[in-house]
């Protein structure tokens, strides 16, 4: 692998970016589904029956992971860009591990809840 890209901050940045693309492409469908509630609860249920299917559950889990990746690695970007405190060392890779743990935590809780 290109040594310029073989480090934690690069993985974090790519994770943030790819999850952002995934969310942007998914959101219009999410909104369309919710819009079906214009016809009341039955409108929603026409789509929600599919959420019992395992492939759909896996996809949902993926989306929850994408959302938490984008959230936690986004928080990391904001901290890197906008925080300074006395004695603060801008350790560019420092936030990657805690953020990944947070993502895994969310993903695990989701799995426990749906299974």
């Amino acid at each position: 692998m290109n040594p310029l890209r073989n480090h934690k901050s690069y993985l974090a940045a790519i994770g943030h970016r790819v999850s952002g693309i995934a969310l942007a492409l998914f959101l219009p469908f999410h909104f369309l589904l919710l819009g079906s509630a214009l016809e009341g609860a039955q409108g929603l249920d026409r789509f929600l029956v599919y959420t019992d299917l395992t492939p759909v559950k896996v996809a949902e889990w993926g989306l929850v992971m994408m959302l938490s990746v984008h959230l936690f690695f986004g928080i990391r970007v904001l901290f890197l860009e906008f925080t300074r405190w006395p004695g603060h060392v801008n350790d560019l890779a420092g936030w990657v591990v805690p953020c990944s743990i947070a993502v895994l935590f969310v993903g695990t809780v989701f799995l426990i809840q749906v299974l």
Binding site: N2, P3, L4, R5, H7, S9, Y10, A13, V77, L80, E81, F82, R84, N90, L92, A93
Partner: protein
Amino acid sequence: MNKIQRETQELTVRIWRGKEDGKLVTYQVMSRENQTILDIITEIQRFHEPSLAYRFSCRVGVCGSCAMTVNGRPRWTCRTHVKKVSDEGILTIEPLRNLPRIKDLVCDLAPFIDTWQRAGAPFSGTKTRKDAPALVDPNSSTRRAAEAGLQCINCAVCYSACDVVNWNRNYIGPAGLNRAWTLVNDVRHSNRKQTFDQAFGKGGCGSCHSHGNCTRHCPIELNPSESIAGLKQIAFKGLPKDV
């Protein structure tokens, strides 16, 4: 390993020959106790390949002209020891990334130098030769901020290491933006606002994604990533006040 064995060991050095459509050519060079990448290239140029083109000047890490890509990373070759970077006796030496290649290890630095101008770099003073020199408090926050970004040797290592430059050649890049940061903090500079506007214009600091390759590779350990973050903060807080 005894001394004689060590001296007879050889390094395999693969060097980029030609322009964009060139190729790696392999040379065998004696491995010595103390040698830098630049020593190796000089040895190859003198004894194996007289037509090899490369740049260097001071050989002591001041002039910034000998930067090249060594085993995939941009480095100042005059201060990079072979022992530190060789991968089991193999060295791959190429010209800097993100710049047009001219010949062998030499690239055209013009696009890099231009970024300094695009970042709003020309200093413009407010005093004439009849005025007394400006008094700058070395402990003021602006001076300390500028101080941290000075001493850049213009080696283009950060520009070559930067992924965003690699993706988008309109991006000014770390060195130019670091220079803009020092100017924005220079109380003697009359165009601080204009410099900031340019540093935040098209291809400016807003494009930085904090991968940190600039800071990770800067041979004199400057922190362009931090300078760029400083510029971004100005968008919220306004130009730095002298405290």
